[in-house]
């Protein structure tokens, strides 16, 4: 896609052509359409950044075009032209996402300015690299005006901390080996408030390096119990950039799927910030707009010489002052002094971004294939230092630890990081980010793009810790951002209060399910039928997955292979490929497992309704596919033709033999199958699955293809389907990644900016077009 392509839609040739000429002169790529229909045809073939649209096209066509564009190409920014800015159509157009309007007659300068601003602002909002809609997160805080600033003497601060220490644990910055670390403070004298940067961030008190999520018992009376531990604690001396990082973590852990462990700690923590007056030489906080903060703290101190200015950021902070401290109103001089020391600190920063941070997402997107990543990562040790010292990194792994008596144990969460070699490795052994260049790029993309798109905040606060920790001197996002550049406003004073957040206490706690039936499918696969102990139905959609726990061994994502239209139990067909699946295979009828979920989006049933459906399943891809096939057969009248193509490597690896036999005879479904290599007993087709596609007759306009199989299969099947003129929107795929937590937190299943467990595992090919790591 050209980064400056504009589509002009107007039925008046003169207007259309003059706009085209003006914009061409200004250096834009311009295409024109004289009707809504033509415009829609064009955007199917070609992508545009901006559409300039006459909203007054005859017969409401302007609004119709806008609707279609919003649905099909949401990233196109629309500027509408109208004669009557207050007219109903204009209002509706704004609702439909039009970003600006121009009032006729159009002035050349206005037009150019608006188009330019619209293109420039593309980075400010979520840049949509995909059509995958990342679920919007409601903010967890409400912003309210700051009540006041006060002054406390240094002696007064000391007695405040000492008084506070009677009620809670005090954590602060201490000196160690000439550097600074966060640690428990036993006496006020140990506390440093004038440090440059702490080696590791204070976020460890909210998301500790290791913590217990669950306690469980194995055996005759299995039991699972969430473990949530928190103690009252005040963290004193957090710099604004770290406060900003905490705000991001709040958004991650307190919005969708609210994390009970994080929330308990967060609500027991008092954040007492301090302005950073002597920044670390590696910091570029001002470029990320994190050198000062008006939000995110309970109290914020500023060293104004003899005394400290105290800004009150929350009710909690105000209460604390009332109980523990003596303060006075600031004088005018003191208020001026606060501004002066802050300005003085700002002047001390040595590093800065070469571009406004808002442009980072777009720049990164364009640099995806830049050789920079390869060369930059050459000396990368994959040692994890950069992510382990990062205040905004929050990815984790989950492991079971069993006591030596093998009867009880805990499920533990510990930090993990996307630059570590095994981060994106799945049970089958496939590693989706096996080279260090792609890992390094992923980390930088998270910092400058993915996190922003998901949470509306940058994943980098410019603290400079990673740049200091990286021995190979390659971790600095600033250097990466600036290198990429080379190769290619005043906020309201506010105080934050938490909206009432209700943690999901059971977020990581599985429900118990009994194994009611086991059936061997092949040497490596078995199908397990489970019934939830609470008697409820699983409540899944076809194509969703669950996290299955064999307590003591661990948890693994498994697709549900039965349709919700069948009875109260559900089935999981599982190949033996790792610890959990091996353990599942050893279970006998009556055994208990843990189930979390269902997770993920499942197949788009609404979009499939009324369509002909071409199911293409390779190998164990039949497992998730079967849930949909059953569903379609059970609701047969809601769908058009049903055609199932199935390929296995050999006759011995065919799954669900009874059902295959039934389908091959059924008039309800057209069934074709093949094997890669036959044997003496095999009378059917021999050849890879793609050889079946030319054999079926499909109408590309009313056919939806649903493809599930091993990663290698997708590329070839897609090629064949494209030959049959199937549009990308009609090709649906299900992807497997390491869905470790299932709730969009741990980071393992991420494909570029998308979490497979949240936005997937089912995608249309159109959605995957810009997900470079997907297929």
């Amino acid at each position: 896609m050209e980064e400056n392509s504009v589509l002009v839609v107007d039925d008046e040739p003169i207007v259309r052509e003059s706009i085209r000429d003006w914009l061409k002169d200004a250096g834009y790529q311009v295409a024109t359409a004289e009707s809504g229909e033509e415009a829609l045809e064009l955007i199917k073939k070609q992508d545009f950044n901006v559409m300039v649209l006459d909203i007054g096209l005859p017969g409401q066509a302007g609004i119709a075009v806008l609707k279609q564009v919003k649905a099909q190409r949401p990233w196109i920014k629309s500027i509408i032209m109208t004669a009557y800015p207050s007219a109903e159509t204009t209002v509706e157009a704004k609702k439909l996402g039009a970003v600006h309007y121009l009032v006729r007659p159009i002035a050349r300068d206005d037009l150019e300015r608006l188009v330019r601003e619209t293109l420039d602002s593309a980075g400010r909002e979520r840049t949509v690299t995909t059509e995958v809609e990342i679920r919007p997160k409601p903010p967890v805080v409400e912003v309210v005006a700051v009540k006041k600033s006060l002054v406390i003497t240094k002696e007064g601060l000391k007695s405040m901390v000492e008084s506070l220490a009677k009620d809670m644990e005090i954590v602060g910055v201490k000196s160690r080996h000439g550097k600074y670390v966060y640690d428990r403070i036993a006496s006020f004298e140990e506390l440093h408030l004038d440090y440059d940067v702490a080696v590791t961030p204070p976020t460890k008190y909210l998301l500790p390096a290791r913590e217990t999520l669950l306690k469980f018992k194995i055996g005759d009376e299995p039991k699972v119990e969430p473990v949530i531990e928190a103690i009252p604690r005040a963290i004193i001396g957090i710099h604004p950039y770290d406060i900003k990082a905490i705000e991001l973590l709040d958004d991650v852990f307190m919005t969708t799927n609210p994390d009970p462990n994080y929330i308990a700690r967060r609500q027991n923590t008092i954040v007492i910030g301090v302005d950073c007056l002597n920044p670390s030489p590696k910091s570029f906080a001002p470029s990320m707009d994190t050198h000062l903060t008006e939000t995110g703290f309970d109290l914020l101190l500023t060293n104004i010489g003899a005394d400290y200015m105290v800004s009150v950021g929350s009710e909690k902070g105000a209460d604390l002052l009332a109980k523990h401290a003596q303060l006075r109103e600031p004088t005018g001089d003191e208020i001026a002094k606060q501004k002066a020391v802050r300005d003085g600190a700002l002047a001390k920063y040595k590093l800065s971004l070469d571009i406004p941070k808002e442009r980072l997402p777009k720049l990164l997107e364009e640099s995806y294939d830049d050789p920079y990543w390869e060369s930059r990562s050459e000396s990368c040790l994959s040692c994890g230092s950069c992510v382990m010292v990062c205040p905004t990194c929050f990815c984790f792994d989950v492991k079971d630890n069993v006591s030596l008596n093998l009867k009880d144990g805990q499920r533990l969460r510990q930090w993990d990081g996307c630059v570590l070699i095994d981060f994106a490795k799945v049970a089958t052994g496939e590693n989706f980010r096996h080279d260090k260049a792609s890992r390094l790029r992923h980390r930088i993309f998270r910092k400058g793009k993915y996190i922003l798109e998901r949470y509306g905040r940058f994943g980098c606060v410019g603290c400079g810790r990673c740049a200091t920790a990286c021995l190979a001197e390659i971790a600095s996002p600033l250097e990466a951002f600036n290198a990429i550049v080379e190769s290619v406003q005043a906020k309201e004073a506010a105080m934050r209060i938490f909206r009432e957040v209700r943690p999901e206490i059971e977020l990581y706690a599985p429900r118990l399910a009994e194994l009611v039936k086991v059936e061997e499918l092949t040497e490596r696969e078995k199908v397990f039928e489970f019934s939830l102990k609470d008697g409820k139905a699983l409540g899944h959609r076809p194509g969703q997955f669950v996290e299955v726990s064999v307590m003591g061994i661990g948890e693994a994502p498994v697709s549900v292979s039965s349709s919700p239209t069948r009875d109260g139990t559900f089935q999981l067909a599982v190949r033996k490929v790792g610890d959990v699946t091996n353990a599942l295979h050893n279970l006998k009828k009556g055994a208990m497992v843990g189930i979390r979920g269902p997770f993920g989006n499942g197949f788009p049933l609404e979009a499939l309704e009324g369509k002909d459906i071409l199911f293409i399943a390779g190998g164990i891809g039949l497992v998730p596919m079967r849930s949909l096939v059953q569903y379609v057969l059970d609701r047969r009248s809601s769908f058009g033709r049903a055609i199932l193509l199935f390929g296995a490597r050999s006759p011995a690896e065919r799954l669900f033999l009874d059902e295959l036999a039934a389908w091959s005879k059924s008039p309800e479904i057209e069934f074709h199958e093949t094997v890669d290599r036959g044997d003496e007993s095999w009378m059917g087709n021999v050849g890879v699955i793609t050889t079946l596609i030319p054999k079926v007759d499909i109408d590309p306009r009313k056919t939806m293809a649903v493809v599930v199989g091993p990663p290698i299969m997708y590329r070839f099947v897609i090629g064949q389907l494209k030959k049959r003129d199937l549009p990308d929107e009609n090709i649906i795929l299900s992807l497997e990644r390491r869905m470790k937590c299932g709730v969009g937190k741990c980071g393992h299943c991420q494909i570029n900016g998308v979490y497979v467990c949240q936005e997937g595992p089912v995608f249309t090919l159109a959605q995957l077009r810009n997900l470079r790591e997907a297929v």
Partner: protein, 246 residues
């Protein structure tokens, strides 16, 4: 049927085996109710030649140790290398560099009985090894982790990332920032960075990660003041047997 566990020592200091006894009372009782320790010369007189899991301590540094080890491999269903000497050759391999050994062979060759010595090597240079409990000495908790994994039939989860990960988790100030040098960036984690936690640096006793960036580590050591020779010497202490110092 409890699995039968046997411990065997080859060339080493026997510290690994002794740390097996560094258990709490409860743990020892649990361990003994989970497995039968049938062979443990250092603490036990009776021996049995029927065992399922064999722990091998020490490196192989004598001709006579080879058939002994092969016999153990034949008997054991699972063979676990215990400690740095067994897993990676460890400090015993330091002698492999020295011309002195050649000299000794020439001078004392006829007294082969007393001077039965060959270049030291890890266990997997002689027989196949199923699991590794790394470190000098190994972390008792990791030994237990492997035993539990064997009992549960799952893969023991031993990290394949460098010590830096755990060192940062522990909140340490980087050894390099303190004016010393360290092998943490290429050494396999699992020790919780105990040496750095104790004020020292990583010597590399757990061996290298699967895909270490040795060139980068050497560049870093040079940047922090070591000569090429000193950098190589640093690797030698535990990792002589690995390719890096060749």
């Amino acid at each position: 049927m409890k699995p039968k566990v046997a411990f065997f020592d080859f060339t080493g200091c026997e510290g690994c085996q002794l740390d097996v006894l560094n258990l709490d009372g409860e743990e020892l009782i649990d361990l003994l109710s989970a497995v039968d320790i049938v062979n443990f010369r250092e603490v036990k007189t009776e021996r049995e030649d029927d065992y399922d899991i064999a722990f091998i301590e020490g490196s192989i540094s004598r001709e006579s140790e080879i058939p002994r080890l092969q016999k153990i491999r034949e008997q054991a269903k699972v063979l676990v290398a215990l400690g740095a000497c067994a897993c990676i050759g460890g400090i015993n391999c330091l002698k492999n560099h020295l011309p002195m050994e050649e000299a000794l062979k020439i001078v004392y060759g006829k007294d082969a009985k007393y001077y039965d010595t060959i270049p030291a090597r890890p266990v997997d240079a002689v027989v196949s090894v199923d699991y590794y409990v790394r470190g000098c000495p190994p972390i008792t908790a990791e030994l237990l982790k492997v035993i539990k994994a064997l009992l549960l039939g799952k893969e023991p989860d031993i990290p394949n990332h460098p010590v830096c990960v755990e060192c940062k988790m522990a909140g340490n100030v980087c050894v390099f920032e303190r004016g010393m040098t360290c092998l943490g960036p290429v050494t396999r984690a699992g020790c919780d960075a105990i040496c750095v936690n104790s004020g020292r640096h990583c010597w590399g006793c757990r061996g290298l990660v699967d895909d270490p960036n040795i060139d980068s580590e050497k560049d870093i050591l040079k940047k922090y003041g070591l000569t090429v020779e000193q950098a190589v010497e640093k690797f030698k202490i535990y990792n002589t047997y690995a390719e890096v110092t060749k």
